[in-house]
């Protein structure tokens, strides 16, 4: 039977393959039970696949393939189970809230128009870059 540490190692390796940010998720194996707690998100930035409900299901399936793993628990702050048992990324819900106005029209975060600090210096910056 694989030791807890070897299971930890296998799970970390798998999460690395998926570019999961290990600073935000805590993982531990105990007698074949793997538990992931915290926030499950990828390193750096967002990809189309990051909010795909299959992300957690795929991870679940792949972790179960690791030798010695019998059970996997996910206790995540940014994913929850829906009524039908499917995984829902709560960041995605937050995003929908942020990017949709009350009238339902799509809004785009525009740093160019909201950057007061940047705007006042923009001509200078442009001038410095000209050569």
């Amino acid at each position: 039977m694989a030791s807890d540490f070897q299971i930890n190692s296998g799970v970390r390796s798998l999460l690395a393959k998926h570019w999961i940010d290990l600073k935000k998720v805590q993982l531990g194996a105990f007698h074949g039970t793997v538990r992931l707690t915290g926030e499950l998100c990828r390193l750096g930035g967002e990809c189309a696949s990051d909010h795909d409900p299959r992300l957690v299901d795929n991870l679940d399936a792949e972790i179960r393939m690791i030798r010695g793993v019998e059970r996997v628990y996910f206790e995540l702050t940014n994913w929850r189970r829906g009524g039908g048992g499917e995984w829902i990324c709560t960041d995605r819900a937050a995003r929908a809230k942020t990017t949709t106005s009350s009238s339902g029209e799509s809004m785009v975060l525009n740093v160019q128009t909201s950057s007061q600090e940047g705007r006042q210096d923009q001509p200078k910056a442009a001038a410095r870059r000209a050569p």
């Binding site: 030791s3 807890d4 540490f5 070897q6 930890n8 190692s9 296998g10 970390r12 390796s13 798998l14 690395a16 393959k17 998926h18 570019w19 805590q26 993982l27 531990g28 194996a29 105990f30 007698h31 039970t33 538990r35 707690t37 990828r42 390193l43 750096g44 930035g45 967002e46 990809c47 189309a48 696949s49 990051d50 019998e70 059970r71 628990y73 960041d91 995605r92 937050a94 995003r95 942020t98 990017t99 975060l109 740093v111 160019q112 909201s114 950057s115 007061q116 600090e117 940047g118 705007r119 210096d121 923009q122 200078k124 910056a125 410095r128 870059r129």
Partner: protein, 402 residues
């Protein structure tokens, strides 16, 4: 993936997670790299509003202020950062580059030489100092620094890196362009986006090229090692991680990854040695100690495991995984009362595996009723728990016999 697509993606992420400083900082780094300092500083400011002590973001802000022509303000801010951590290598190196950016070549070189003295084997630091030295006409000094960088890289035996070195003094100018503290982060973000788009080869290529440009950069080498490990290229991953340690003794993450690599190769003693080095470098970082405690427990070195796991909980009392292993270690020492104490005060108390452990501890204390109650709770939490079912079945059969 193109830089624009990556920026658009990070913009969406920052909008989705407006309270996460990392999202804003990463977004700012890409904007800065794309030559949009005005937008970048807005994003970096958002990160700093959430996390005012975010040192990387503070330093990046100073560079952006210079880009925006606000040099005096940038200098004042950088002074404050430096005063807070005058002996932090990353800050000192960034300060040297910052001073050069401001046009203070002599001071910049002096500070860079201090960074060299702090990390004498880091090629990207040696090369940056060589370029600054060469720009001042101090060609002998520049040649010596370049020679040292070449010697370090050639000793590592990584052909990728050797090929990336400047052929001579003329090539140093190219290295003088590494002026941004966020550059390594940008490379990682681009690699991540390539991987996210399913282009794992592209991600690896991106990291290889970045490691060539910044030989010795901890963040890049660590990602390179992890990426290779994730792709099953263990031997190569080991070479990159070992190279990082050879160049920079202060690389706890490289030791940690090596310990996992050795564990997968079933060389557990080497794994312990690597973990001990990681712990020695970051004694207050709970994760390294937790991994060490778990490994020692697996090796049957229970007393040492208890020691490490207790320290984890003294640093981070809410570390549930450590509580479970510590309770299990106490049980292995037949100290059921302590096991129960650890579990009762832990946030993991309601985890099915903790409930089963509590039941085992009560059984050791000849308290079958309490054990049964805990097993009931475990099964309520997870009806599929085979350990809880098996223990309950044995408890019931004992009762029948009695």
């Amino acid at each position: 993936m193109s830089l624009d697509a990556c920026i658009a993606s990070l913009e969406r992420l920052a909008a989705a997670r407006p309270k996460y400083p990392d999202s804003w900082y990463n977004f700012g780094c890409l904007l800065a790299h794309a030559g949009r300092p005005a937008d970048a500083i807005h994003a970096v400011n958002r990160a700093l509003e959430i996390h005012p002590q975010y040192v990387e973001a503070c330093i990046t802000r100073c560079f952006l202020l210079v880009e925006l022509g606000r040099q005096a303000e940038a200098t004042r801010e950088f002074k404050r950062i430096h005063v807070r951590s005058p002996d932090d290598f990353a800050t000192v190196f960034a300060l040297g580059v910052f001073l050069l950016r401001c046009g203070w070549k002599d001071s910049g070189l002096d500070v860079l030489l201090r960074a060299v003295s702090m990390r004498p084997r880091l090629p990207y630091v040696l090369l940056r100092a060589a370029a600054a030295s060469n720009a001042l006409g101090r060609t002998d000094e520049a040649a010596a620094l370049l020679y040292r960088a070449r010697a370090v890289v050639e000793n590592l035996g990584l052909q990728d890196l050797t090929a990336g070195l400047p052929p001579g003094m003329s090539g140093l100018e190219q290295h003088a362009s590494w002026q941004d503290p966020f550059l390594s982060k940008v490379f990682v973000l681009l690699a991540h986006h390539a991987a996210g788009a399913g282009d794992e080869d592209g991600a690896e290529r991106e990291l290889r090229s970045a490691c060539k440009k910044l030989p010795g950069c901890q963040l890049l080498f660590w990602h390179m090692g992890r990426t290779l490990l994730g792709r099953g290229k263990r031997d190569e991953a080991e070479r990159w991680l070992a190279a990082q340690i050879q160049m920079d003794m202060d690389s706890p993450q490289a030791h940690l990854e090596l310990s996992f690599l050795y564990a997968e190769a079933k060389d557990l003693e080497r794994s312990v040695a690597s973990l001990r080095k990681a712990v020695a470098l970051r004694p207050l970082y709970p994760d390294y100690r937790y991994q060490l405690g778990t490994l020692l427990f697996d090796l049957g070195r229970i007393d040492e495991a208890i020691e490490e796991l207790r320290r984890v909980l003294s640093i981070h009392p809410g570390y549930g995984h450590a509580s479970i292993h510590l309770a299990s270690a106490y049980l292995a020492r037949d100290d059921a009362s302590r096991a129960l104490e650890v579990l009762a005060s832990s946030p993991c108390a309601d985890w099915p595996e903790a409930l089963v452990l509590s039941a085992q501890a009560h059984l050791k204390l000849a308290q079958p009723l309490e054990a049964r109650a805990f097993l009931g709770k475990a099964l309520a939490k997870d009806p599929t728990s085979t350990e809880a079912r098996a223990l309950l079945a044995s408890l019931v059969s004992c009762e029948v016999v009695a």
